[in-house]
Every structure is written in structure tokens, then in C-alpha cells.
Amino acid sequence: MEIKLFDSELKVMDILWKEGDTTAKRIAEILKEQVGWSKTTTYTVIKKCIAKGAIGRYDPDFVCHPVVTREQTRELETTELINKMYDGAADQLVASILGWKSLSPEEIKKLKEIVSNLE
């Protein structure tokens, strides 16, 4: 299932991914503080997420539950990027990142581990 999320929707998902199940009221409070949204604006965005199937809600108190995980969303966005910019070749994306982003020795070590695990 592919769910494309806009920035505003990702902002709501961010909270759910970080804090787990949260009431809509609480989300509104957090976002009012963070980005200055009114309660109605936050509820609008939550409703959009529910309609897209990214959030599940259950009563009482309109508790929101993240249906899609951060990994799924990242995967979707990355696949889109690879297809769009790297002709579907994931290694080219990795090469490109390694080319311009200087990584710390620790990060390099972690990457090596991931690669060896895959092998």
C-alpha cells in the first residue's frame, strides 16, 4: 500500500511515531506549540491522514494510532527518489551520498556492518 504524505501530514505522523498512540487533542496541543497550528487545522490534517489510511482512530477520546510506519514512508519516498533521479539503481544513490557527504569513521563502520550482514 502506497500512501503519499504531504509535509503537514508528516508532521502529525512524526508525533505519532515518536510518542506512539496519542489523542487528537494532545496532538493539537503539541502542534500549536511547535508550528502554531490552530486546533481545527490540526484536526483537518488528522482527518486527511485517516482518509488516506495512514492513521487509525479509536474512541473514546479520538486516540490516533499510526498505521504506516516511519520505515514504510521512508521506503516509499526513497524508492520514488531512486526511480526519479537514479534510474532505479539504488547503489547509485548510495554512491552519490557517499560522494558528497563526509561520513564520520563511526558511521562508516556502521555501514560496513550493514553490508556484511547482507552478504
Binding site: 504531504f6 509535509d7 503537514s8 508532521k11 508550528v35 502554531g36 497550528w37 490552530s38 481545527t40 487545522t41 483537518t44 490534517v45
Partner: protein, 486 residues
Amino acid sequence: MEILNMSLSASVLILAIVIIRALALHRIPKITFLVLWAVALCRLLIPFSVTSIFSIYTLVNMLKTHFSSLDTTITDMSPINIGTAADTINTSLAKTASVNISPFMVAWFIGFSACALFFLVTHLRWRREYKTALPVDNEFIKTWQRSHPTRRKVEIRQSDRIAAPLTYGIFRSVILLPKGTDWTHLKHLEYILIHEFVHIRRFDALTKLLLVAGVCVHWFNPLVWVMYVLANRDIELSCDEAVVRTLGETMKSSYALTLIGLEERRSGIIPLVNNFSKNAIEERIVSIMKMKKNSIITLVAAVLIVAGATMVFATEARSDRDNNDTVSSMKSPTPTAVTTSPSSASSTERSAKIEVDTPSAEPVTEKALPEYWKMGALNVNGAPYLPLVATAENLGYTVNVVSKNIDNPEYPNTVEYNYELVKDGKSLGIASLDISDGKVAASMIDGIFCNTHDQATHTSIVLQKDTVYMPAQFFKEALDTGNKLP
């Protein structure tokens, strides 16, 4: 119809502005056109008129007096067919009252509602989307905003739902920047911010709202739509002009390039770029590149154009007694033959007048006129017509409908009404009214109720909302003796 008149007179002005705009767009300051559009908008939205001897309508009137036959043609083209209206009365007197809202009004209202709804729904939908924008975390923008304080609160936010920068909100403005903005290109950012700040300072959001109001009210007038499109463009052109003036003329090509860059991005996201917006952006770029420092001459020209166009096209002819009639007949096709009442404006549509002969109704005494209006008189060319039944009752008579003959085989298609007037238990006479084929065939009033017995058979009667009105002079005797009038 007031709106039709306003639309018509504003159309002349709009046409003039469109022509001036085509001729002088790149020659005079753009604000000139905004002022002219504002005048047109006032004409469209505010029902008032200013008179001037230089008005184009003075010329029209002068021509008209030369070809006075034109007047009659216009009067003849009255939207209300007296014959038809009388037919309705003939079928049923009582029904006349229910047919009172003209189909034009209904059509206008439907169009107005549809337009208003369309703009409102679109606006609210977008606004809900804009509200979900996120704050911008950019040092340059923060510093820039601190160094450009505004009286109203201005927020700068970013959104991934828009393709080009925009500003919304009249009193609490929000500048929205697309997420794809090149945040490192500071010059670029600065141009965008200056541009949007000019919009905010000038209350352009409010102007656009008023333009929408104009279009909604005058939805049937294509020229008003032309004005809507052109005025919106001129708001941008004038804003660009202000930006270039702030930046200095040497920066104008750099600013124009920024605009082109924005436009490219926009068309990259929305594939359906219509020709129209392409024209608009072309016009913007050309107008920026052609911008010159305002010389005294261009400023004087601008002032003269505004003053001249306003004076000639936005005013009514000076209301001389002679040409006042012609102006009103030209402006409104309402014929004088239709009865008007001071109490309700739409009564023109409701009432129908049946004339048997030229009315001999002169005002009784000038002084008494206000009293007649108080009594609910109808104004027929300045002469009072009083409701027959109500006035008689007011004078102490009891009015009985003696008979109402509809299907008298002797007189086909004729309706006859007979009112008996009784005072102190004694019958004082009968008022009789015959309507045949939609025309009053005879109307007679007997007895002392009215002693202008002879004239009564050849008089005019006005039917409005199934009430019979007779010239007040027929009540004169009774009114005078009863000391009802000063």
C-alpha cells in the same frame, strides 16, 4: 433595476479604461490603472452618482435632443407590456398580487449565489490547505523580517502544496513560500519578500476581495469579468513597479529573471499552463523591462488621465431640468406610463395601470400632498391616487361589495364590480367599475360620495395588488368637509 443601471454606466468606464490601458500601459505609472479600476469598482458597488457638466451623458443628451424621436423608441421598448398585465387582471383581480417578483430578479439572484458560492468554496478550500503550512526555519528570512517591521502581524511559512510564493489574509497576513524555494539564493529570497510585503502594505488582498464582489454582483456583464482579469494583472504590475523602485532600476533584469524562474517552476508542477497566464507573465516581464523613471510629464499625464476619465465616464450629466428626463429614460428603460409608488421600489413590476382617457388628476393642493402620502396614496406622475375602499372607510363609510359579475352573458369578457357606500345606515351611492378585455370600460360613482359625477365616467383607475385607486381629487369634497386635510 438598480444593478442593471450601475452595470451599464460602469461598462462605459471599463471600456474606456481597457482602451487607455492598451494604449498607455508601459508609458504611465501602473498605479494609474489601479486608481481607474477603483473608480469603476465604486461605480459597480456603490449606488450613487456624481454629476458633472463634462459627463459623456451630457453629450448623449445633446445628441438626443437633436434626434428626439429616439426617446419615444426607448419608451416604447418598455419591458412591461401593459396589455399583458391588464390581461392578468382580467383573469383574476386577486391573482395580480402574487405575481410580483420579476424573473429577471430571480435569474440575477441565482447567478449571484452561484458566483459567490464558487468563490467562497474555492477560497475556503485553499485557505484550509494554506493553514497547514509549516514555519520556515531560515536565518536570512528571520533577519530580513526583523529589519522590515510591519504594523500588521506578518507570518512567513512554507508549504509543499504550492508552486509559487503567495500572500493571504487581510489583517493577519501570511506569506507562503513553496517548499522547493532555493533557500540559499538570498537575492532571490529578498525579491520575493519585498514583492509580497508590497502586497501586504497595499491591502491588495482586500482589493481582490472587492473585485470578486464586483464580479459576483455583475456576473452577467462580460466587461466586469474583463475588468476582474485586467485589474488582477495590474495589481501585480504595480507591485512589480514598486519593487523595482525599491531595488533601483539597475536591478530590474535580475528581478525579471527571478520571476521567470518562479514561472518555470510553476509550469513544471502544473502541466496545464494556459495561454492566458503565459500572456500575463509576458506582460509582467515586458512591463518591468520597459520601466523608466517617472518623469514629470508621465506623472502629469497619469493625473490627467485619471481626472479626465473619471469626469467624463464616471459621472452623470448635470441635472438640468431640461435633460433630467432624458437621462433617466436613457438610464432606465422604465417607462413613465407605469405607476410607481413611493413605498416600494419593486411596485413598478407589480402594478399595472389601465387608462381609459387622459387622467385629469391634478394635485388638489400642494400643501395637502404629504397628508395624501400618509394615507397610503399612490404616486401617479406626482398626483395622489387614493385606495378606494380604505379611503371611503376612513371617511366613515361602510363599503359593501354589492356585486361582482364575471360571466354576464350580455357582456362577454367583462368583469363588473359594484361597491355600495353606506354611512349612518343610509346608502349613499354605488361606485361601479367595469373591466372589459383588460380595459376599464366604464367607471361611475354615484351620489354625494363624489360630486364630480360626469368626469368619473372618463377617468383613469389604477389597479395595484387588487386594490382600486382613484385620483384623490374625486374624494376632495368628502375630504374637505370631513376636515381630514389641512
